[in-house]
């Protein structure tokens, strides 16, 4: 809880500073946009967080989103498949890719970094190849109202991606912090050998984490595709996995595994989007946005490290 509280305070302070300098921050339209971004980025960040809790990593999120995005467009506009079929194929494919990653990690015992790095390269290449590097849109295909609503609509003024994030967060919170699976996930992440001795099917636990991450990437991939409304295979989703990893780490996940929480990940994702928003609102050149993000993450994690080291020392004395 302490970790989440620290980052939450950072988030609030940051919002207050931005609001004080530029009151436009508090305009409904800005907050709505912000919430939409937090929703879309938060959904896959939670999945990535689960993988990080196993002690693994998932680098292929952005490329997978580009592949899913162009496939979504091609299924609807070129192959004239039904909307439901397209959604099912999209999420199903994402889950299958997650499962392949999981199996390569747990059965073939490959390092998660390598497996998903290859995924990052492969899916991006595949997306560019099947589209001949052309940007894909959704044209005038009918029946997409619901998907467009998911990405761009509001429910009682709250952007749908944010609503979706909350729903998913509630479910994953229960899974992670109250269910047998969640307990096994933390146990495996902390010490997979001891978990195995205790009878936990660690390979299945880890594989399922990659599958869940795939599913959430699929959901967020659909949201992003309809949010941008056109998918450029070379750029769509670029570096999104890094947003997810940064959100998870800021939110208290340890890259060594076994630590993290859903709430922390969401606060982490929110913080990153506030930072992007801040760059816009404070008139900082947008070319600096990555630099700002890097600096704030570095300072945040550094402060956390120093404070907790001091706390530990005080406990010893």
């Amino acid at each position: 809880m302490k970790k989440e509280l620290g980052i939450f305070i950072l988030l609030i302070v940051l919002c207050a500073i931005v609001a004080a300098i530029n009151p436009n921050f508090l305009l409904a339209i800005n907050l709505q946009n912000l919430a939409r971004q937090i929703g879309a980025f938060g959904i896959f960040s939670i999945g990535l967080g689960l993988v990080i809790i196993t002690g693994g990593i998932e680098l292929s999120v952005g490329s997978m989103m580009a592949l899913l995005g162009v496939l979504m467009s091609m299924m609807l506009t070129e192959w004239k498949l039904g909307v439901i079929v397209a959604v099912v194929v999209c999420i199903g494919l994402a889950m299958s890719l997650g499962m392949i990653h999981g199996l390569l990690v747990t059965r073939v015992k490959m390092q998660p970094f390598i497996v998903t790095l290859c995924g990052l390269l492969f899916y991006r290449g595949l997306a560019r190849f099947i589209t001949k590097d052309e940007t894909k849109g959704f044209g005038t295909v009918g029946g997409l109202d619901f998907l467009r609503f998911l990405a761009n609509g509001n429910l009682f003024g709250i952007p749908m991606p944010f609503v979706l994030l909350i729903l998913i967060a509630v479910v994953t919170w229960i899974v992670l912090h109250r269910s047998v699976y969640g307990r096994y996930l933390f146990a495996t992440g902390k010490n997979s050998e001891a978990a195995r001795y205790a009878g936990v099917n660690t390979r299945r636990i880890v594989t399922v984490a990659y599958v869940i991450s795939g599913a959430l990437t699929g959901v967020s991939g659909i949201v992003f595709a309809f949010y941008t409304n056109s998918v450029s295979p070379a750029n769509h989703g670029n570096a999104y996995e890094l947003y997810g990893i940064a959100a998870a780490v800021l939110g208290g996940c340890s890259l060594r595994g076994g630590e993290g929480s859903v709430i922390g990940i969401i606060i982490g994702a929110a913080l990153l989007q506030v930072l992007r928003n801040l760059v816009n609102l404070l008139g900082i050149p947008s070319s600096l946005d990555f630099a700002v993000m890097g600096a704030v993450i570095l300072l945040g994690v550094m402060a956390d490290q120093i404070i907790s080291a001091r706390r530990n020392r005080r406990q010893l004395v």
């Binding site: 109250r178 269910s179 047998v180 050998e193 001795y197 205790a198 009878g199 099917n201 010893l316």
Partner: protein, 504 residues
């Protein structure tokens, strides 16, 4: 060291403790786990700072604020857990931080001098290995000796050895003892921490006993005896803790749990067969590396066997994973409780419930209430001392950690329970509790297998002993044939002449 005190939050670890050691003297420091031995030695090694008290070396008062400062005073610490780097070779380990260099400021490592000097030290220790051997090729015992070589090469005047023999076999231990005596003859002051009292009896010039963070007595050479040490350590009598040799045989159905023709990855070309009756305690003796742990891991599904049959109550079992074994109520208390037995970063409650989590949950969701009740019950029945059920297992003493591992299986009504070195590195109090528990389980009809390298233990607790050597069972001893010599003879490869041999 005199008047040393150290407080941790909520605990007084050391209260006015004194200890002295002369040049060329071996002082054994004994006490139950949690008595403060390690804390005291960490202060001497400069790992942690004392709250009060003084440390003198050759009459000069010194301050030790870091291991480097202790090192510069030639105080060397050999830790219980190996602290060698197994990705480097022997010479690199011996000279770590003190590499001979050449070419001035470039500080290139002078490999010629490095290897010659390392070989000299190895020779002095009677280790017949090249200093170019990668450390990962060495046995545990050899690695331990490399640590000693490192301390000697650093010119140790005070040598602290924390449980140096806990993973060594009998012969290796004897070899180590000789080396310690040689060092003593060279005038090195040695502080020797051990739970193995017969070793202490053999080697110590003086014994200093700690209990609950205080000095609890000192025995000079003539007064050192097993009885007196135990009494000083626990403040009670031997009879409580020693194993009673005579125990009514309760074994029924001699083939209740049987293993036939089992091969493990480490010894693919040999097979092991044995049977354990209901209520029987079968000791599995042998030298380290004889393949005993491999058998235990095969039976419990951790490393499934290459081939072989396992039957329980006449029924053949398929064990491909720990889950399969656990489903049939076959449990393993593994050798290494910190890395395999427990998740030390998880709480006591989570550790107890982990294998039985399904029982405390409905529709996949954990019922915290039920789980806590189960943890409370387990802690009480095994007398586990912990501040709360939410305490991390890492904070418990070794003995309590081991009881925690046992407690989780007891909650699951075992049919077969396998202990791999059940009392390694734990205090005598916990030891006697674990022995009592093993006895009680057997009396209830559980088939128990105890793997142990401690002769006293294996002779004391077992109804029968199977001795292994290089992946084979070289003999089975009945209670009336038990003796240290008989076990050693079989463990070193001599075949049993009696027709009770079950291995082939």
């Amino acid at each position: 060291m005199s008047g040393i005190s150290k407080r941790f939050p909520g605990v007084v670890a050391l209260e006015n403790v004194s200890l002295s050691v002369h040049p060329g003297e071996i002082v054994a420091l004994i006490g139950e786990n949690g008595a403060g031995k390690s804390t005291l030695m960490k202060i001497l090694g400069g790992v942690i700072e004392k709250d009060s008290g003084t440390i003198q070396l050759n009459g000069e008062q010194i301050e030790l604020n870091s291991p480097a400062e202790a090192g510069s005073r030639h105080i060397e610490f050999i830790h219980q857990e190996l602290s060698v780097l197994d990705n480097l070779d022997v010479a690199a380990n011996i000279f770590l931080h003190r590499e001979p260099t050449r070419a001035g400021w470039l500080k290139l490592i002078d490999r010629k001098i490095l290897y010659t000097q390392a070989d000299e030290i190895l020779q002095r220790l009677g280790l017949e290995i090249s200093s170019r051997t990668p450390l990962s090729n060495l046995s545990l015992a050899q690695q331990q000796l490399v640590e000693i070589a490192r301390a000697i090469s650093a010119g140790a005047r005070v040598l602290i050895m924390d449980e140096p023999t806990s993973s060594l076999t009998l012969t290796e231990t004897r070899r180590l003892m000789e080396i310690v005596r040689d060092l003593k003859a060279d005038g090195v002051s040695i502080i020797y921490i051990s739970h193995r009292l017969h070793e202490v009896e053999e080697i110590a010039d003086r014994v200093v006993v700690l209990r609950d963070g205080r000095n609890a007595g000192e025995l000079s050479r003539d007064d050192i005896s097993h009885d007196r040490m135990v009494r000083a350590m626990v403040g009670r009598d031997l009879a409580d803790f020693f194993l009673t040799k005579d125990r009514p045989a309760v074994t029924t159905e001699h083939d209740w749990f049987a293993v036939h023709g089992l091969s493990t990855l480490r010894y693919p070309n040999t097979t092991v067969s044995f049977a354990v009756g209901r209520g029987e305690i079968l000791g599995l003796a042998g030298l380290v590396g004889a393949g005993r742990s491999e058998v235990a891991r095969a039976i419990s599904g951790v490393d499934p066997p290459l081939k072989g049959e396992v039957t329980l109550a006449g029924e053949m079992l398929w064990i491909e994973s720990p889950q399969d074994a656990i489903e049939r109520s076959i449990y393993l208390v593994p050798e290494d409780r910190r890395s395999a037995g427990l998740i030390v970063d998880a709480t006591v409650r989570e550790n107890i419930s982990l294998p039985a989590l399904q029982r405390y949950s409905r529709a996949g969701l954990v019922n915290l209430g039920k789980e806590t009740v189960a943890a409370a019950h387990a802690c009480k029945s095994m007398n586990i001392k912990t501040a709360s059920y939410e305490t991390k297992a890492a904070k418990l003493s070794g003995g309590n950690q081991q009881k925690l591992v046992l407690a989780r299986w007891l909650a699951l009504s075992p049919q077969v329970l396998i202990f791999d070195e059940p009392t390694r590195g734990i205090d005598v109090g916990s030891k006697s509790e674990i022995y009592a528990e093993i006895r009680r389980l057997a009396a209830e009809g559980v088939s128990v297998i105890v793997i142990s390298s401690e002769m006293e233990e294996v002779l004391g607790i077992s109804d029968r002993i199977a001795v292994m050597h290089e992946g084979k069972i070289t003999g089975l001893l009945e209670r009336e044939d038990f003796s240290e010599e008989a076990v050693m003879r079989l463990a070193t490869g001599a075949r049993s002449e009696t027709p009770t041999v079950a291995g082939n």
